[in-house]
Structure formats: structure tokens, C-alpha cells
């Protein structure tokens, strides 16, 4: 990295926010993606939108590549700079600028942590539903860039259902304002939606305005055991068919159940195929009715156990199994490869079966849990990065799993993004014309290709 360039960055953000020491570069060379690592040339931490704009203008003129990074919780290598470029780290920009109770919107800086926004809006009786697993540290900018989902996706949708306005710094430093606080806006192309899930390749978000909704009055949590996988999957389909949309409809498979029980001793039986965690929320009367409907459907499908939480504490207890699923799996072996293959919900049973058979074929341990309600599964391979042979088998297995996902009409990634980890699968999913259109869009936004290069395609 050229000294004059670093000096110019220092002039923008100050010396303490321009990091070039070996230790810092090493620490910004990874995100949460296993096996991927690459040191940037410099790390810069802007304090406001204006500074992002000046950094981008500088990089544009110098032809230096820039990778935006929130808290580094990305699971597809999207926030790693693979060509010793600039890591543009947004964590300092953490102010909630406004909670507008008349228009039901919140405007935040890009580095605001998702759960901080949850807390602040819920204190006002409002609700921002997207709740990715990393919400306690993930940033809003990162959530928008990856279009993050979460447990509440089935009923409430994902990040792009809430983004109303953006202030985005383009590759040349210009600030693009899209959308705003209006619910209806058909003036020109819907650039908001285009920018959501652009994975840092089209622009750097500076400010984000999201839609808020009233906080549901009450909720009810249920835990159900199923001796047979097919019955659990049918239950999921039949709940939806009965016009009940739970806020949460989560699933654990047999491998995950065993790991959870070994770790947390929550009293799960080891002889069942599936556990469902179901949560309904809304008006008390509606919640009662939905919960009763769900109970009947579960019993009709031969659940071996059905429990409804009587209190908030008990609800927390019931949710423990799902909450600790990833921890429980991650503790088994040093390396955890967590994927997010997503299928139409009618295909959950065949998909889980296929994952289990593939694991067996490649002699791997893969636990599957996830958001059964929206078909977003997390097959999680427990392995050891030092065992090259096993790692190779894991990649081969996931290759087959993704092929099957596509064949079932699903997608290779429901919430983690393509980044570099899924790049090779994308053409299979979107085809040549899909890639061509995406490249065209990229060219229109970033003709010199300096923004998060090498990601997506």
C-alpha cells in the first residue's frame, strides 16, 4: 500500500483510525467464515457518512480496492479483502439518528448493532423484526448488504421487507440517496431493493431508514417432539395450510438433538427424529386460538410430546434447545461449517433426508437445524480444519447438497450471501443470463471494479 495513500486516509479519519500495524492487519483479515483469511493493506474506520465519501473518492482516484466490513460476522467471506486492499470498518458509526413514531421509521448509521436497535424501538412499543443469529453484534449496514433473515422470517419477512431509505456512498465517493419515509414510491427503478443484498459490491451504506411495526402484544411458545421426520415436516406444511403463520417455526434434527442434549441436558429424548420450536405472537385471543390449532395439528401427526410454556421464563427454557443448537454443534469439533441451503417448505423432509444420506456417504457428521417454516435449513458440518481429507469430503458433500437444493427449486443461500464461498454455485442457480445482468449492474455502479472485488461472481 502506497505511503501517500495511507497519509491521505490519515488526513481524513486521523491517525488512530488508520491502522497499518501487522497485528491490526492480521485481525481484520478474517470474518466468521471458516478456512478463509487474507490480510488487508490498511484498515480505516470512518466516523461519519462524509468521511466514507472522502475515503471512496480517494480510493477511486488511486484505483485502490475497498471492502466494507461491519462486525465481521459474515459467513461467506464477503467482508475479507482478498487483494490487500482497504478494509472500510464501520463500527464507529453507531448512532441511532431518529426513531420517528409518527411515520413508524428508524434511521440509523450503518454501524448500529441490530439488537441495539431492537432494544431502543421496543422500549417505545415498536418492533423491528429481522433477527439474524448474529444480531447481538451484527451491524445494520451488514444486515442490509447481506439481506439478513432470522428466526422471525416466516411471519415478518427479512431485512429487505423493512428497508425504506438508504444513503449510499458510491464507488466514486458520490452519495446516492434512495427511498425515504414514504410507503409508496414508484419514481424510477427501485434502487433500494437493488442495493439490499449487494454484499458491498455496489456501494457503502452510510445511513439506513427502516420500517417499524407495532410490537406484538403477546406470544406463546411451544416445544414438540416427533418420532418421525416426515410427520414433523407434514406438521409444518399443515400449520401453514391451516392459515396459521407462526412467528417462529424452528426445527432440530436427530444429530443436533443429540449434541444439544449432550451439552445442555435440557431433557430432549434421543430416540426422536425431530424437535420443533413454535412461537405464535399477536393479539392475545388470536394467539390462544393459533396455539390450540397448532396443538391439534401436532397431535394429529403423532407428536410424542407437546408442551406450551406457561410463563416467560418457561418460554425461555423451551427455546433453549434451539438457542444453543449452534453452540452445541460447534463444541463437538474445532471447525464448524454452517451452510444455509434453502428449499420450498414442502421439500423439508426430502432435503433433511438427503443431507443425512450425503453425510453418511462421505462419512461426515452433519447436524441440521434451522427455520423450517421458511425452508431455510442450516446443515452444519462438524470437522477439523487440520484434517484436509475430511475438509475435502465436506466440500464435496456440500456440492451435492447444493445441487439437490437447486433441483428442488430452492436456493444455495437463504441468508449468508454468496461472497466468495458460494461463487462457484451461483451460475448453476441463476444461469448465464443471470450472471450477465448482475455484471451489467455492477458495471453501472462501479465501472472500475474497486468495491469489494471478487465477491458474488
Amino acid at each position: 500500500m502506497e505511503k501517500t495513500f495511507i497519509k491521505a486516509l490519515t488526513d481524513i479519519v486521523g491517525e488512530s483510525y488508520t491502522l497499518t500495524d501487522k497485528e491490526s492487519l492480521a485481525c481484520y483479515g478474517y470474518d466468521s467464515t471458516p478456512e478463509l483469511e487474507s490480510k488487508p493493506g490498511v484498515v480505516v474506520l470512518p466516523g461519519n457518512l462524509e468521511e466514507i465519501s472522502r475515503i471512496m473518492a480517494l480510493a477511486h482516484d488511486a484505483g485502490v480496492r475497498v471492502t466494507p466490513r461491519g462486525s465481521g460476522t459474515n459467513l461467506s467471506g464477503g467482508s475479507i479483502s482478498f487483494d490487500a486492499g482497504v478494509i472500510l470498518q464501520t463500527s464507529r458509526m453507531n448512532r441511532i439518528l431518529e426513531i420517528d413514531e409518527e411515520n413508524l421509521t428508524a434511521t440509523v448509521e450503518t454501524g448500529v448493532v441490530t439488537s441495539t436497535l431492537h432494544r431502543e424501538v421496543e422500549a417505545k412499543g415498536l418492533f423491528y423484526p429481522p433477527d439474524p443469529g448474529s444480531m447481538n453484534i451484527s451491524t445494520m449496514g451488514g444486515n442490509v448488504a447481506e439481506n439478513s433473515g432470522g428466526l422471525r422470517g416466516l411471519k415478518y419477512g427479512v431485512t429487505d421487507d423493512y428497508v425504506m431509505g438508504l444513503k449510499t456512498v458510491l464507488a466514486n465517493g458520490e452519495i446516492l440517496k434512495t427511498g425515504g419515509k414514504v410507503v409508496k414510491d414508484v419514481a424510477g427503478y427501485n434502487l433500494n431493493q437493488l442495493l439490499v443484498s449487494s454484499e458491498g459490491t455496489l456501494g457503502v451504506f452510510g445511513e439506513i431508514t427502516v420500517k417499524l411495526i407495532p410490537k406484538p402484544k403477546t406470544k406463546k411458545t411451544m416445544l414438540v417432539h416427533f418420532p418421525q421426520l416426515e410427520q414433523a415436516a407434514l406438521t409444518v406444511s399443515h400449520i401453514i395450510a391451516a392459515r396459521i403463520i407462526p412467528a417462529t417455526l424452528e426445527f432440530l434434527d436427530r444429530v443436533t438433538i443429540k449434541c444439544v442434549e449432550d451439552y445442555a441436558h435440557v431433557g430432549l429424548p434421543l430416540d426422536v427424529d425431530a424437535v420443533l420450536l413454535i412461537e405464535v405472537d399477536g393479539h392475545p385471543a388470536q394467539v390462544e386460538e393459533d396455539a390450540e390449532g397448532i396443538r391439534q395439528i401436532c397431535e394429529r401427526h403423532h407428536c410424542s410430546y407437546f408442551q406450551t410454556a406457561a410463563s416467560a421464563d418457561e418460554a425461555l427454557k423451551l427455546a433453549t434447545a434451539r438457542r444453543v443448537a449452534l453452540s452445541a454443534l460447534a463444541r463437538v469439533k474445532p471447525t464448524t461449517i454452517l451452510e444455509d441451503a434453502t428449499v420450498p417448505r414442502s421439500c423439508i423432509a426430502p432435503m433433511v433426508k438427503l443431507i443425512q444420506e450425503t453425510a453418511k456417504k462421505y462419512n461426515l457428521t452433519i447436524g441440521t437445524f434451522g427455520h423450517a417454516g421458511d425452508g431455510n435449513l442450516h446443515p452444519t458440518c462438524l470437522t477439523d480444519e487440520r484434517d484436509q481429507d475430511e475438509i475435502k469430503r465436506a466440500h464435496a458433500a456440500f456440492g451435492e447438497i447444493f445441487d439437490a437444493t437447486i433441483a428442488m427449486g430452492g436456493t444455495i443461500t437463504g441468508e449468508h450471501g454468496v461472497g466468495v464461498a458460494k461463487k462457484k454455485y451461483l451460475p448453476k442457480l441463476v444461469g448465464e443470463s443471470g450472471i450477465k445482468v448482475m455484471r451489467g449492474i455492477k458495471g453501472a455502479f462501479d465501472p472500475n471494479g474497486i468495491l469489494n472485488p471478487g465477491k458474488i461472481f
Binding site: 497485528e23 466468521s32 460476522t73 453507531n94 439488537s115 447481538n136 453484534i137 460447534a330 463444541r331 487440520r386
Partner: protein, 413 residues
């Protein structure tokens, strides 16, 4: 160091929002995930221990909030401490660290002797004189800080004056061995007197062996593992046998260390048995909630609670102290935002890294102020030292007391 422990970190970042130094800096190098990466890269030979490197790892408070937050069981705080311990073993300690952590604190007799002049110094009014003349400015900064941290000392160390056996009141339920922490004995004797009184009033015979020695935690901080083992052996022998139903302490730091004796002595049966009997005072009292409640009289106070790291993160005790505070009729309990975040005391951290310690402390004070409480309850001498001084200077309306002092106050009405 066990390499597997380092690669177990899956870099999910769940530790970041819980790390006091990350919350202050937003820098990956000041986060648990970053520190594990640094130590790992050192082990792999990619990084060397430059001054900058050591500066980054030594910014860790070792509060272990990261361990509580880690989904896959990595204890970044402990790994960093272990790394520093291995480094220090070769290099030796700073003069201050050596004096405090190895030569002084682990030896109750020396510590008591050393603090005797201090007691005299405070009693004689010299302290006021020294402070008012600003003589401390002439001391090295670290010594000046230490002096400022010391509250008014009791007339004599409790270890010297406490009865070896305090009988149970009413029907005797059992016998507990009281492990009297050094700092509790020297500085916060009133809290430990309250502890004994509470136990006795609930029907426990309390035995406080006068020969007991330091728990070994300062040796650990001083990277002196041999000293830790010696302490573990000595205290295990002292409290041996079936005479005690429990071994109780009202010092979070001691409790955390005592519970690890089994581990320190490689799973030796006697040490494991000892550790399994160790209880923090709040654990014992919470089990006696019914009986205790009958003895408590109303206190119309606004109270909040600070979780000491050694209680919440090292021992996993969170609900018991809160339940006990809520037992007191009339108390308006207000949960402290970020209650389990370190107060910045962290062993000798507040002396060694004053700037970061002050930032962490300022956050704690701001949170305490938000609650509007007039009493801040906690249960670890390090936190008491740090918070009493800070409150006296910056939020004088808030009194800082040990949990047992609050309960005693309520019991006495």
C-alpha cells in the same frame, strides 16, 4: 498452550459486544476474538511478540465476560492470561507486580504487617496532610493510584479479631468453614462480620481457621503457578475432612479460585472434594431464602447490583444475589444496565492500565447514575475498592456496600 483451544474459536464475534475494551474502542485488536487470533498467529509463527503485540494482549481485563458469551466454550480471557503467564515466566514481573502479587498479597502476615503503617498513617491524620499537600504527585503515578484506592481501614485485620468458632443461633443446621479473603479481612471486615452473623442466625456454626492463607488468586495474576499450587494444598489440608458441610466465602475472587483447586491439583480427590464444597455466600443464603425472609425488616431504599466478574462470569452466579436483594421488604430494586460488565478494577489492572480502567469505570458510573439508585450492592473486594472510591468522588449520593451488609442492615432493622 493447547493449540486446539485456539482453533476452537469459530470467529462468530458473539464475544465482541460483551468485551469492555471492545465496547470502548470498536477495535478488533481490543476484542476477545482478535486476541485469540493474535495468540494463535503468534503460536503459528506469523506474528512475533513486539511491544505493540504485547500492548494489544495486555489490554485484556481478564474479566471473562467473553467466556460467558462464547457459543463454543472458548475462554479468550483465560487463553490470553495463560499466554501472558507463559511469556512472563521467562521475563519476570514488573517491580510493582512482583511486590504486590508475589511478595505481599499471598502472605497474610506480611500483608497485615505492611498495612499496619498504613492504618497508622490514616489514623494519625497523616493521610489528610499528604493528600492536601499534594505529596502524592511526587510518588510514581502507580503508587499514587494505589494510595487513592485505599478506603479507611478497620482498626485491626478481622483475621486477628474474629472468633475462631461462632456458634449457630437456634437449632444447628450444619457447620460451615469460613474462608476469609485477605482484602475482606484487611479492608472490608464489616462485610465479613455481617456474613458470619447471617450464617449464624440461620443456624450455621461458623468456623474461621486463623491459620488460613491467601486463596492463591494473586499468585495466578502474578503468573506464579507454583505459588497457586502451594496455596491450594495448604488450604485443602486446613479445611480437610467431614467437619464442614460447606466452605463459604464472601469474596468473589476467592470463591472462583477455591472452586478451581481440584483442577489446580490435577484432579486430586481431596482438592476436588474441597472445591465441590465451596459456596459463595449468596448461594448459601439463596437456599435459605424462606428462613432469611422472616428475619428481614423493611428498608426503603433504591438499590442496584453490580455483578462482579468473579461471581457472574467465573462462577455463573447471577440470579442469587438479585433474589436476595429482592427478599428485603420495601426495596426498590433497579436492574443496572450492563450489570455484568467489568468495573475496571480487574486485579492490578486499574494500576497497570489506568487509562482504559478509567474508561471502563466511567461507563459503569454512567449506568449506575441511570438507575437512580442510592445503594450500589456488589460482592467482591476488588469491585468494592474501585467503586467506593469512584462513587465518593463522582456520585457521592450512591453508597457502595457488600451484599451481606445490606442483608445485615435489613435484619437489624
Amino acid at each position: 498452550m493447547d493449540y486446539v483451544k485456539l482453533i476452537n474459536c469459530m470467529r462468530c464475534g458473539m464475544c465482541l459486544p460483551h468485551c469492555p475494551t471492545y465496547k470502548e474502542t470498536f477495535l478488533e485488536t481490543a476484542s476477545p476474538r482478535g486476541r485469540v487470533a493474535l495468540v494463535r498467529k503468534f503460536q503459528e509463527g506469523e506474528l512475533v511478540d513486539t511491544d505493540q503485540f504485547l500492548e494489544y494482549v495486555s489490554l485484556c481485563l481478564d474479566c471473562q465476560a467473553c467466556a460467558s458469551a462464547c457459543p463454543c466454550g472458548v475462554n479468550a480471557g483465560e487463553l490470553v492470561a495463560e499466554f501472558r503467564c507463559e511469556k512472563k515466566a521467562g521475563q519476570g514481573l514488573s517491580i510493582i507486580e512482583n511486590a504486590i502479587l508475589r511478595q505481599l498479597v499471598p502472605h497474610p502476615d506480611r500483608l497485615e504487617a505492611a498495612t499496619a503503617p498504613l492504618r497508622l498513617y490514616q489514623l494519625s491524620g497523616l493521610q489528610k496532610l499528604v493528600r492536601s499537600l499534594g505529596l502524592l504527585k511526587m510518588f510514581p503515578a502507580a503508587l499514587g493510584r494505589m494510595e487513592g484506592l485505599l478506603p479507611k481501614l478497620p482498626g485491626a485485620p478481622l483475621r486477628k479479631t474474629i472468633d475462631e468458632v461462632t456458634p449457630a443461633q437456634g437449632t444447628e443446621k450444619g457447620t460451615v468453614g469460613f474462608f476469609l479473603g485477605c482484602v475482606m479481612s484487611l479492608i472490608f471486615s464489616e462485610a465479613s462480620i455481617a456474613t458470619v452473623e447471617l450464617l449464624s442466625s440461620l443456624g450455621y456454626k461458623v468456623v474461621t481457621p486463623k491459620d488460613q492463607k491467601c486463596c492463591g488468586a494473586p499468585n495466578m495474576l502474578g503468573h506464579d503457578f507454583e505459588g497457586v499450587k502451594q496455596a491450594a494444598r495448604f488450604n485443602t489440608d486446613l479445611f480437610e475432612g467431614d467437619a464442614y458441610d460447606f466452605i463459604v466465602t464472601d469474596c468473589g475472587g476467592c470463591g472462583a479460585e477455591l472452586k478451581k483447586y481440584g483442577h489446580h491439583l490435577d484432579g486430586e480427590a481431596k482438592a476436588t472434594a474441597f472445591s465441590s464444597k465451596v459456596r459463595d455466600i449468596s448461594e448459601i443464603l439463596a437456599n435459605e431464602a424462606g428462613a432469611l425472609k422472616e428475619k428481614l425488616k423493611p428498608l426503603n431504599l433504591k438499590v442496584t447490583y453490580h455483578d462482579p466478574c468473579h461471581i457472574a462470569h467465573c462462577q455463573g452466579i447471577r440470579s442469587q444475589p438479585r433474589a436476595l436483594i429482592n427478599l428485603v421488604p420495601g426495596i426498590d430494586f433497579r436492574e443496572l444496565p450492563e450489570a455484568d460488565a467489568c468495573c475496571g478494577s480487574a486485579g492490578t489492572y486499574n494500576i497497570e492500565k489506568p487509562e482504559m480502567s478509567d474508561r471502563v469505570l466511567a461507563r459503569k458510573l454512567a449506568n449506575v447514575e441511570k438507575t437512580g439508585a442510592d445503594y450500589l450492592v456488589t460482592s467482591n473486594p476488588g469491585c468494592l475498592l474501585q467503586l467506593k472510591k469512584a462513587m465518593a468522588e463522582q456520585l457521592p449520593q450512591v453508597k457502595v456496600i457488600h451484599l451481606t451488609e445490606l442483608l445485615q442492615m435489613s435484619m437489624n432493622g
